[in-house]
């Protein structure tokens, strides 16, 4: 009876760990998609309204949802406190839970957010393209990755149960 109970606990623990990993992966994907959309909005605002950067970041920090809202809000706040834009941007990027490739794209963008409208918009749109590609690849890989993760956690739990029994 005790062994059975232990086995159930191990399986439940495995299921919980699997669920946590899956939801973390989905959250990262949604954050990336949200930031990509926010950057698109940023380029649009610059092109159409020439909204100055502090006001633009603050506006995105209010209008977006989820973790990207916090990202833009942090960047706006650092800028308001007197940090230079690349520094403020980097500080905000450092708080993001994203894959290293996405973080690299965002960090690079922080260095390129200077110059005239054409230059800034080009840099943003390039970053949007790169991030969209990453989101697409992620979505393409997701069924297989989820299957692999499920199999991994199930196998590990089952192995542990067998060993315990």
């Amino acid at each position: 009876m005790k062994k059975l109970l232990g086995a159930v606990c191990v399986l439940l623990g495995g299921a919980w760990a699997w669920r946590t990993q899956m939801s973390a992966a989905r959250r990262r994907r949604d954050t990336l998609a949200g930031i990509t959309a926010g950057l698109g909005q940023m380029a649009e605002e610059i092109r159409m309204a020439r909204t100055p950067m502090p006001a633009l970041l603050a506006c995105l920090g209010r209008s977006r949802r989820g973790p990207e809202r916090e990202f833009f809000r942090r960047a706006a706040e650092a800028l308001r406190q007197g940090a230079e834009l690349p520094q403020a941007w980097r500080q905000a990027v450092d708080t993001l839970d994203l894959p290293p490739q996405a973080l690299a794209v965002l960090e690079e963008l922080g260095q390129a957010l200077r110059g005239d409208e054409e230059k800034v918009c080009k840099a943003i749109l390039l970053a949007v393209k790169q991030l969209e590609k990453q989101v697409t690849e992620w979505d393409e890989r997701r069924p297989e990755a989820e299957k692999r993760t499920t199999a991994l956690w199930f196998s590990a739990s089952a192995l542990l149960v067998i060993l315990l029994i």
């Binding site: 610059i46 100055p52 633009l56 800028l79 230079e84």
Partner: protein
């Protein structure tokens, strides 16, 4: 109190600089900070401060990258939002400062569209001098009616400072004033807000040639007085005459030491013959003290 204000203005101007240059600028003794007129940066050369006695060098060499950073700081990292004035070679900065820039002009269809490879910058330390026009306003009125007035002085004589304060005084006394600030020096508009005190009833149209701006404010703002800095072109004079014909009071500055010099300039002779302007305020500077003499125009 005024001395402290002058030092504060210098420090505010220095705050626009990139960190390394800012530190160097703040080394200047308090006595010189009070009188500093400009901070000047030239790529590859030492940063200087313009004092009444001439330029004084700091011990830091300006890196070209620092001029780009200055431009970013002055525009709050939004150079695209300042494109109109940047292509004219200057940036109005929050606090009422003005950064003049030199570099390579980007020409498109014969028009300068941008400045790149910045090579020089000058931060003009604007000081408002509130109250210089306080005693002057009653002398520009006849039976409660504002007389069209020219402000005369040689370059650097304080015409814009006097114009700004006259506009403030007239505005505070209830006149509806439209200020045409083509070069952005009088009101120093940053994102729609005047950085200088130009009074509560003043409407500012900046960045627009005076010849276009005057009919615009006449149609749109129903002004009682139109004020403009530096009328230099025949079209400006024509627009001024048009406004005078509509019964609007006029206040403008012109480069001329006195009425005699004004009469010698053919461009302005017609304006005087048409009796568009009735009074002139001549700004005289003796031992650093400015005085204002009101003269009837012929």
């Amino acid at each position: 109190m005024e001395k402290n204000q002058d030092i504060l203005r210098y420090e505010e101007a220095a705050a626009i600089l990139p960190v390394r240059l800012r530190k160097a600028a703040l080394v200047l003794p308090a006595e010189e900070r009070k009188t500093a007129e400009e901070l000047r940066l030239r790529a590859g050369r030492p940063m200087t401060v313009l004092l009444p006695g001439g330029e004084k060098e700091f011990e830091v060499i300006v890196e070209p990258e620092e001029l780009e950073t200055l431009c970013d700081l002055a525009t709050e990292f939004s150079r695209y939002a300042a494109a109109e004035t940047l292509r004219e070679g200057f940036l109005p900065v929050r606090g009422g400062f003005r950064v003049g820039l030199c570099g390579t002009a980007v020409m498109k269809d014969g028009v300068n569209t941008n400045l790149k490879n910045l090579s020089s910058a000058a931060i003009r330390i604007e000081r408002q001098h509130l109250g210089v026009a306080d005693g002057l306003v009653p002398r520009l009125l006849r039976e409660g009616r504002f007389q069209n007035t020219l402000l005369l002085s040689p370059p650097g004589g304080g015409k814009t400072t006097l114009l700004r304060d006259l506009v403030r005084c007239l505005s505070e006394q209830g006149w509806r004033v439209s200020l045409i600030d083509e070069r952005g020096e009088a009101a120093v508009m940053v994102r729609g807000e005047p950085q200088m005190d130009v009074g509560p009833r003043t409407d500012v149209l900046d960045g627009c040639p005076k010849a276009l701006a005057i009919p615009m404010v006449l149609r749109a703002m129903n002004p009682q007085i139109i004020a403009a800095d530096e009328i230099t072109l025949r079209e400006d004079l024509r627009a001024m005459s048009l406004a005078a014909g509509c019964g609007v009071g006029l206040l403008a500055t012109i480069h001329a030491a006195d009425v005699g010099e004004l009469l010698e300039k053919p461009l302005y002779r017609q304006l005087l013959e048409d009796r568009v302007f009735r009074l002139a305020v001549c700004i005289r500077c003796v031992d650093g003290e400015r005085s204002y003499e009101v003269e009837e125009l012929p």
